[in-house]
Amino acid sequence: MSPRNFWPLVALVALLVFNLIFTTGFARLEFRDGRLFGALVDIFQNGAPVMLLAVGMTLVIALGGIDLSVGSVMALAGAVAALLMTEQGLSVPVSVAAALGTALVVGALNGALVTYGSVQPIIVTLVTLVMGRGVAQALTQDQKVRFENPSFEFIGNGTVVGLPVPVLIVAVVFVLVALLLRKTATGLYIEATGGNPQAARLCGLRVHTIQMTAYMASGLCAGLAGLIAAADIKEADVANSGLYLELDAILAVVLGGTSLTGGRANLVGSIIGATFIQTLTIMLQMRGVITEHTLIIKAIVALGVCFMQTAAFERLVRRLRPVEGA
């Protein structure tokens, strides 16, 4: 683990330890009906969508871009899959593939407008944020699409050797992307393009292709997240699925130490960030903290964690430990 993940990890561990000691029921972990059951599992199960979004977002942000459309893509993917299964009676694999294909198309649209249309990423993805959910609403005629389909629900609810499927999906996606970033040249190329696109072009990198790929990857991750979210509650809720999750995903990435100016991709950090957010949420829910206070606590904690990663904090730490430093 690289040293830049040190402080985010410290923050996460501190939060977990606090909860294990002070939040009743947090520590309990049991095996029930063939699945692992407990707050610690919920963190990953409920946090899976944000974690997936954060993985895609990390790539986009590393390129100096941003993807606001992920929440809408979630809703869209969920709607497409649900409609194909219920209205068209298509099989689960086909529906899932079509939903992911749709998400990929939105990602490609984002990428194309950013690279070839040279429109600022925030505008492009804001437009797809508005339109994506709109298309989903139009497709479903503003109705929630309910379904009963055990093999599709498996994506959101099932378990494999006791572990929830969403967690496994996140793990697989994470490992794949991490391998791509760290064991192939892709990571270097992405970071170079994000750090200085002009220089990257002069070094012969396919800047456009790299950007397209990142937005498409983000779209795909969002699509997966959308399927999980829909499968989890057995309905495609186009009005609410993924609503405002783009902010959570960005927050996760930044809490994990990736700078919004691009040039660095810290995947592990993003996962730590997402885990942190979800732990905080579950903790506040379990402790019955009211919404007004939740907002304020979230604000302060987020600032605190980010502060731990700044040079100012480093100076502070060094000043507090002059003896060891000398």
Binding site: L126, T140, H293, I296, L303
Partner: protein, 320 residues
């Protein structure tokens, strides 16, 4: 030619706006009239004033996600002070402006001294202020006060007060950006913070001031909102930060900072207002989904048209 080159994005925006406005006028009866246009100004005054503040922040290379929350907070605070504590309206507005400005300055100071990115600091600011607003009053609050009503219904000539305030903010904002050293320092800060520091410009002061200005604008917008709604409202500010950023950016301001103008923001606000109004109310589509699709498509169309015009006029520069 020089003028054209320098202001090409804004001019292209104006042109694209006129085109769309004419198209709407042809399509909808009674669209092409002065009262309707004035309606645009007053209906978008709240967003517009927020966007003027946001323009400064984005020009300086930062971003402020707290504006929507600060606006809501300010309107609720005014409501609480006037209705529950029986303050004079002007005193209540003064108080909310002071709070908003102080809050902005606090965020600016945090950004500068800790080195945490503006995105995070102001996002945290958004959560914080929203929580605070719920704490001072859980529900939206009606403002029934003759002095308040008197201000709200004031007209200057044929213009409602809110429209006048919006135009005044644009005018003052434009003046500050173009003619004051403070304004120029903002552009310099956005063009390159390190360079600005090495050139001996007051980076810290400027940065703190920029967020304070944004907080001021947002809380002023909250006051205007109370004129518009006669109530302090929690809901209106949700998602407004994205609208404000969008208007600033479609007005030709670069999100990276350093390039753009307040006048462009005016165009951006009018444009977004035009799109929203014509689609949601004149077109009166029967599906929320299709409404959203149409809004997005028009927005994209506008941005692409603006890009195309800009390129046509300036020609393609040295390839990047």
């Amino acid at each position: 030619m020089n003028f054209l080159r320098k202001h090409v994005t804004v001019l292209a925006g104006v042109f694209a706006y006129v085109v769309l406005y004419l198209a709407a006028s042809v399509r909808y009866d009674g669209f092409f009239s002065l009262p309707i246009f004035i309606n645009f100004l007053s209906n978008n005054a709240v967003l517009g004033i927020v966007a003027v503040g946001m323009t400064f922040v984005i020009l300086s290379g930062g971003i402020d996600l707290s504006v929507g929350a600060v606006m809501s907070f300010s309107s609720v605070l005014i409501g609480v002070l006037v209705m529950d504590h029986h303050w004079h309206v002007l005193a209540a507005i003064g108080m909310s402006l002071a709070c908003g400005t102080a809050l902005g300055a606090l965020l600016g100071t945090l950004i500068h001294t800790t080195g945490i990115k503006p995105f995070i600091v102001t996002l945290a600011g958004m959560f914080f202020v929203r929580g605070l607003a719920f704490i001072i009053h859980l529900e939206s609050i009606a403002i029934v006060d003759p002095r308040h009503t008197a201000i709200a219904t004031t007209r200057i000539g044929s213009l409602p007060l809110t429209a006048v305030l919006f135009l005044a903010f644009v005018a003052v904002g434009w003046y500050v950006a173009v003619f004051t050293p403070f304004g120029r320092n903002i552009y310099a800060l956005g063009g390159g913070e390190e360079a600005a520091l090495l050139m001996g410009l007051p980076v810290k002061r400027t940065k703190v001031a920029v967020y304070a200005v944004s907080g001021f604008c947002a809380s002023f917008a909250g006051a205007v909102l109370t004129f518009y709604l006669s109530s302090g409202s929690h809901l209106e500010g949700v998602g407004m930060e994205l609208d404000a950023i969008a208007t600033v950016v479609i007005g030709g301001t670069l999100l990276a900072g350093g390039v753009g103008s307040v006048f462009g923001t005016l165009i951006g606000v009018l444009m977004l207002g035009l799109i929203l109004t014509s689609i949601t109310t004149y077109e009166g589509m029967l599906s929320s989904g299709l409404t959203r699709v149409a809004i997005g498509a028009l927005l994209l169309g506008f941005v692409l048209l603006q890009k195309l015009l800009t390129r046509r006029i300036v020609g393609v520069g040295r390839a990047t």
